[in-house]
């Protein structure tokens, strides 16, 4: 409620472009944060390597889209003008999912088999290590330079209520909205989505009703990483790919997860827009250097007064023992 109020006031005072920025960053942040929520709720992993899947997504999109854009330059009437960017983003999702599965098979699976206690701490340390590894692997294989594109969709900006929104930004929002909607539908109505929720709520109960835990774990991690990679791929025009590109979305997504409560997927979406708005308003009125300080303050207050988060519930993790 307060968010909507602040959004309205801010957009009246300093122009609707603030609102547009909020919605786009919020949408993409929602993708990263829901992935993080999933990892936390179902696998009980405090994922600090999630930004690197964002990086993998943007890198994939870059290498897929560059040849496509060269082709478009030579054949401007090709159908790829419309479809090309979508192909790049879809590839980012697929590669993100695959790298998630690889991470589970090589890193988390072996730990799960061997860890007897202290799972939360050990898996958290492992994700930090994975993050450092992936960042440096990027630097080693692809170099530390910025790998960006001029834009996905060329053409005149779209004008809505006197605000000009570039086509890339509009599409980024549409992609985020569609993906979040599909994801929500999947989690709410399909039996596989319900099984994922069931595992996050009671792992023994899930085993009793015949849910194959290993399959769900694998599916969850690939989904979570794909969501993050989609965000990385769609935002390539704003954030060119470089080794540490994933850190900012990671921190913001953690703000969202702590703010909205651990393991609450719909809450994560709402929280993402709140954090995005907060960030946009801070940049506008206080200064660009403060955009991490203000959300951090808010989180401190939330942790002091409502430790389970604004939309928090007492969902326990799958491997909480």
């Amino acid at each position: 409620m307060i968010t909507i109020l602040v959004a309205v006031v801010a957009s009246i005072v300093s122009g609707p472009y603030l609102l547009v920025n909020t919605i786009i960053t919020g949408g993409m942040l929602a993708l990263v944060a829901t992935g993080l929520t999933l990892m936390l709720g179902v696998l009980n992993i405090a994922m600090f390597a999630h930004g690197e899947f964002f990086m993998i997504g943007s890198l994939t999109a870059y290498y897929v889209f560059t040849p496509i854009s060269n082709y478009i330059n030579e054949n401007p009437d090709s159908f790829l003008v419309v479809i090309g960017p979508l192909i790049a983003i879809a590839c980012a999702a697929v590669i993100g999912a695959i790298s998630g599965i690889v991470a589970e098979k090589l890193v988390f699976g072996p730990l799960r088999k061997r860890a007897t206690d202290n799972w939360v701490m050990n898996s958290f340390l492992l994700t930090v290590g994975l993050s450092v590894l992936l960042i440096n692997l990027h630097q080693l294989l692809f170099g530390a330079d910025f790998k960006g594109i001029v834009g996905y969709w060329s053409g005149m900006p779209i004008s809505i209520a006197d605000v000009f929104i570039s086509r890339d930004r509009a599409m980024a929002f549409v992609i985020a909205a569609v993906v979040v909607a599909i994801f929500w539908f999947f989690m709410t109505y399909t039996s596989t989505g319900m099984a994922i929720r069931a595992v996050s709520q009671d792992i023994t109960g899930a085993q009793i009703v015949g849910i194959d835990i290993e399959k769900i774990v694998l599916l969850t991690i690939s989904l979570a990483c794909a969501l993050s990679a989609v965000a990385g791929g769609s935002l390539l025009f704003m954030y060119p790919s470089y080794p540490t590109v994933g850190l900012e979305p990671l921190y913001l997504a953690w703000f969202v997860v702590i703010l909205s409560g651990l393991g609450n997927i719909l809450g994560a979406v709402a929280g993402a827009f709140m954090v995005a708005l907060l960030k946009a308003v801070t940049v506008e009125y206080i200064g660009a250097g403060w955009d991490f300080v203000v959300p951090s303050f808010l989180i401190m207050f939330v942790l002091i007064f409502k430790p389970s988060g604004i939309f928090g519930s007492d969902v326990r993790g799958a491997l909480d023992k």
């Binding site: 039996s191 319900m194 099984a195 069931a198 009671d202 109960g205 899930a206 085993q207 849910i211 519930s313």
Partner: protein
């Protein structure tokens, strides 16, 4: 023979609790396992349901060896386990919980038939369809757990401590609903601390003491046995 457990050894970590438990259940029977705290009743059930791996011995279901299978595989073979803690999905509605109970049934029509069946057993759950499982009373949750166990159309239903933590009035109600299942032709293995009640409703019983089967036989004979009377009933 539907379920045949032979010389089962099981426990947690280095702690062995069961030492050579053997029991068997025929189709359509209503069998009770009773015993004092720490005798290994729940451990036996968890080993049969696949939640803990047996250290030794064998478990056969329907003539098939199921020793060491995972819990989800055992559920798919037709054994449904209603645990003491119920393990409901607390942030899901009653209906969603029941649907999850039929997770192994892929046919939507069959799922809905099972749902109707469970609703006919527990009309109370129909009223609470949209309520979150975690917000219901203890008795209702027990009913939901048993109903969820029935959703997969099991050949054998194992109910662990249905009276645990319930008011006496509700205990009778839960026992009645298990009786209703029995008259529907379901094979039931009941585990209870409430010895009098269990021996009164079941056909056959096992008495578990210190991880071993102490006595076995017809429930009525067990109830009349002087040892049982002395140890459990305090007469």
């Amino acid at each position: 023979m539907l379920l045949e457990v032979k010389n089962l050894d099981a426990g947690y970590g280095y702690l062995q609790i069961l030492r050579g438990v053997s029991l068997n259940i025929d189709e359509g029977e209503y069998v009770g396992i009773v015993g004092p705290n720490g005798a290994g009743k729940s451990t036996t059930m968890k080993a049969i349901a696949g939640l803990i791996a047996p250290m030794g011995g064998s478990i056969a279901f329907n003539g098939e060896d199921i020793t060491g299978l995972s819990a989800s595989q055992i559920t798919k073979k037709g054994i449904s386990f209603v645990s003491e803690e119920m393990n409901l999905f607390v942030n899901m509605s009653v209906q969603e919980n029941l649907y999850m109970g039929a997770y192994i049934i892929k046919d939507k029509k069959v799922r809905n038939e099972r749902l109707d069946f469970v609703f006919s057993l527990f009309p109370r759950l129909v009223e609470r369809k949209a309520q979150l499982a975690g917000t219901m009373s203890g008795g209702e949750r027990k009913m939901l757990a048993i109903g969820r166990g029935m959703m997969s159309d099991p050949k054998l239903l194992i109910v662990d401590e249905p009276s645990f933590g319930l008011a006496p009035q509700l205990v009778s109600h839960v026992f009645e609903s298990i009786d209703a299942l029995k008259s529907n032709g379901v094979t039931i293995l009941l585990v209870e601390q409430n010895v009098t009640k269990t021996l009164a409703v079941t056909d056959r019983g096992y008495i578990l003491e210190n991880g071993k089967v102490g006595l076995q036989g017809k429930s009525s004979d067990l109830a009349a046995n002087p040892h049982v009377k002395k140890v459990f009933l305090g007469v």
